[in-house]
Symmetry: none
Subunit: 289 residues, 2 copies
């Protein structure tokens, strides 16, 4: 089966007469369109477009265009026979950091999705990986801690989430009997989300500790809290997520007063249409803590 | 015999997330660590680490890491027999399916980890991917729904988890006013874990429906439940996970009596040492539901 995303990009560039306008039409960045054309040319082993004197399809490109037009005609007939196909809900592919997804995300976007019949295709990525996916045109928007805007995209600050170093009271008594001392940090097992997670290192640096420390790796927000609740380690957890257990005294800070503020930013392509604007407005109303 | 000083340097660089911190942990200079990694790569004829976008082991490097973990496990047994050998915490890399990690996993393994100072390196994978990682030597054990044993590994049945098709009562009234009919399934947004997740399809087939249906994609256990709680769709959730919300009436089945039983199996290499045996015994005591 051909990759119709690549063919669709080619058709849009020819129809719209340019990469940027094609990007607008497809809800993609100019560079994402350009990458799709390149991918198509690599696959084909020859160019599909000539850039000068004017943008135009090569003979091979024209063959592909004819093919996609035929497919579009067939789809049109198919839709007539199966009318429910046509009313397909829009689907939005979005990269979201795990902790937001585990806490406030669904509540914030739920009402709009319900009203509009909007379907979401979530990709769970922390930090730079999500932004790279946006740059590559793989997702339409990205929620992450990076304030670095991408050319062609807008970046909206949503506030900060506050992370506390939490463990069970029994764990704290056993591993931090004298509080957060270097000696305790050297031996107390921590919980770290993954190899790229810097929160634990930032927390220890903030406490003045820069040595080695033992840790579990757990790339799941809920699993992370489950490990902490099972007394396996202490870890940086958003208070928004841990509140029920903190309120019941099942989790407590091993270093009261030491917290990390993690800012969150919402990145999305300009000219992505009205739905993304409304989603952005919905996210803007969230009271992060 | 391999040069374990080189392997130890590799393990330290990956665990500490950098050459300088690895040097601190090993009591070596950064350049000594770097030389050991280079020596290892020369010996192997290929890189063991990628430096960009982030420091991470190559597939070959990950194999070496897994090997050194297994050696450390065996050393741990040896140290018990010869207590004068100095002790360091072993670390075990394990693939676990997301729903187990979100529910019973930590509680089951927590006591043993606490007693033995065992550190866990979790990889969240569903189904066949986890087994492939075990076969590739990337993990020491794997918890998944596949009963297919791997040559050289043992496979222990742990029981089954029961999945119910859950949504908010408001969602059920809106989308399933006449119960689980084909017409309702055709239009009601479902929630699916990922492109390889077959639970939703199995559930619909069990209800006699085989047509298309709209769905959100959400590759996170806690996010999955959050989407359902926000009224964005209905989805197959383990009752173990949803129980608090079901008890409070915030989530309910859209097709009472229709459930899916998903068996769980624990796969691990034979001759992995006594710790894996005890872990297996601890998992065997879990009462899955």
């Amino acid at each position: 089966m051909l990759d119709y995303k690549l063919l669709e990009a080619l058709a849009a560039v020819v129809e719209c007469g340019g990469f940027e306008r094609a990007g607008d039409a497809l809800g993609l960045s100019q560079s994402a369109v350009s990458q799709r054309i390149k991918a198509l040319e690599v696959r084909l082993g020859q160019p599909v477009l000539v850039r000068a004197p004017a943008l135009a399809p090569t003979p091979a490109g024209q063959r592909l265009l004819n093919h996609i037009q035929q497919v579009q005609l067939l789809e049109r007939d198919l839709r007539r026979a199966l009318p429910t196909l046509d009313s397909a809900s829009p689907r939005l592919r979005i990269a979201v950091n795990a902790d937001s997804l585990a806490t406030w995300w669904a509540e914030a976007v739920g009402p709009l999705c319900r009203e509009e019949g909007l379907l979401i295709d979530l990709v769970v990525e922390d930090q730079d990986v999500g932004l790279r996916r946006l740059r590559d045109g793989d997702v339409a928007a990205c929620l992450c801690a990076s304030p670095q805007p991408i050319a062609g995209a807008r970046c909206v600050a949503l506030g900060t989430m506050t992370y506390h170093p939490l463990a069970t009271p029994a764990y704290r008594r056993r591993h931090f009997p004298a509080g957060p001392t270097p000696e305790a940090f050297r031996h107390a097992p921590a919980i770290v989300y993954g190899p790229h997670d810097q929160l634990q290192h930032r927390f220890l640096a903030q406490c003045g500790y820069r040595g080695a420390f033992p840790f579990h790796l757990c790339p799941s927000s809920e699993g992370f809290v489950a490990l902490a609740r099972a007394g396996m380690g202490y870890g940086m957890v958003p208070l928004m997520q841990a509140e029920p257990w903190v309120a019941r005294g099942e989790l407590a800070s091993i270093a009261p007063g030491q917290v990390l503020e993690v800012p969150l930013y919402w990145h999305f392509w300009r000219h992505s249409g009205e739905l993304i604007e409304r989603l952005t407005a919905a996210l803007g109303t969230v009271a992060l803590r």
